[in-house]
């Protein structure tokens, strides 16, 4: 009768090894694609968000010029003002890639500066949008006023929400960095946050053209 091997536990008397501080991110395991699943997942999410904003933009375009009552877009839009907002968001995309470039070089202090600048520019954009919304409201445009109000506030409001989420995300990365938990080897985290931020920017590129610049 064959004997089965019994594991023997030997107490060497030495204390168990103390686990070092857990790193924020480990090397990604082997995947069938050879790609990091987190990055692939972010791209899949952005693809789904494309469809989400696609439906909102389509709804706005379909109901364009079909409002029976004012205020109408040409009566409330201030294109020079919105152009400044577009510039601010474009600039934030630049600071975002500079943050990524910094952490890939191991320059954590520069990365914190660029990430903070990106978050700040995001806040400026949100402040501008808040001012725009309130000025429109004072001119009589509300979510339930007419088709233009419903579709415009829904589209730009959801975009603003995306920007706000991005600002919180960036702020959390800056906090992690100050706590010493975001180093060069974790640059993928900044890259993924950057993908989201740039997506928010490209959505605004489309909204700026389709909603504000293309005439009625």
């Amino acid at each position: 009768m064959a004997q089965t091997a019994v594991p023997v536990i030997v107490d060497s008397g030495a204390p168990p090894p103390v686990a070092a501080e857990a790193p924020l991110v480990l090397e990604h395991p082997h995947t069938s694609t050879g790609l990091d699943n987190r990055k692939l997942l972010m791209w899949a999410f952005l693809a789904s968000d494309c469809m989400f904003f696609g439906t909102l933009i389509a709804t706005y375009m379909v109901y364009k010029n079909r409002s029976l009552d004012g205020p109408l877009p040409r009566e409330v839009f201030d294109v020079p003002y919105t152009s400044v907002s577009a510039f601010v968001l474009l600039l934030s995309s630049l600071t975002m890639v500079l943050a990524l470039s910094s952490i890939q070089r191991g320059e954590e202090r520069k990365m914190r500066i660029w990430l903070s600048a990106t978050a700040l520019l995001g806040c400026v954009f949100l402040g501008g949008q808040f001012y725009e919304f309130t000025s429109f409201y004072r001119e009589g445009l509300s979510l339930s006023r007419n088709l233009f109000g419903s579709t415009f506030f829904t589209l730009t409001g959801f975009h603003g929400t995306h920007v706000a989420i991005g600002v919180f995300w960036l702020a959390s990365l800056v906090t992690h960095s100050f706590r010493g938990r975001l180093h060069q080897e974790h640059s993928l985290l900044v890259e993924i946050a950057g993908l989201y931020w740039h997506f928010v920017d490209i959505v605004w590129i489309l909204i700026f053209t389709l909603v504000y610049l293309i005439p009625d």
Binding site: A47, M61, L90, L91, L100, S101, R105, G106, I205, L213
Partner: protein
């Protein structure tokens, strides 16, 4: 760590670009140039918006400029131009579906003049 040493050792211009090339991404200088190009395109959009002379072809012109900005940001800032083609395929699928939905709905609800003339 070699990459870190490289980043610190390169005091001369172009070191950051070389370092970025190790990641398969452009460097800070390229990113800044792209930022300037994007700002110029945005300025051009606003300029054309104010010009009566281009009113006849304003919409295709603005769509073209907008598409250029979109492609530049996706290609360079989001690195699709340099990354694995699978990322492009995944994102492109969502983009094509979104564009199809917009186009189909606008035809369906008569926002384009062509179907109304046919009808």
């Amino acid at each position: 760590m070699t990459t870190l040493e490289h980043g610190h050792a390169s005091g001369h211009g172009g070191g950051h670009e070389e370092h970025a090339a190790e990641h398969g991404h452009p460097g800070a200088k390229t990113y800044t140039i792209i930022g300037v190009i994007l700002a110029v395109i945005t300025l051009a959009e606003v300029f054309f918006y104010t010009q009566e002379a281009v009113l006849a072809f304003l919409v295709p012109l603005l769509l073209l400029l907008s598409a250029a900005k979109f492609a530049i940001v996706v290609g360079f800032y989001m690195h699709l131009r340099f990354d694995n083609p699978l990322f492009t395929a995944v994102f492109g699928f969502g983009l094509v579906v979104a564009a199809s939905v917009i186009t189909a709905l606008m035809f369906l609800f008569g926002q384009y003049p062509l179907p109304q003339h046919i009808g």
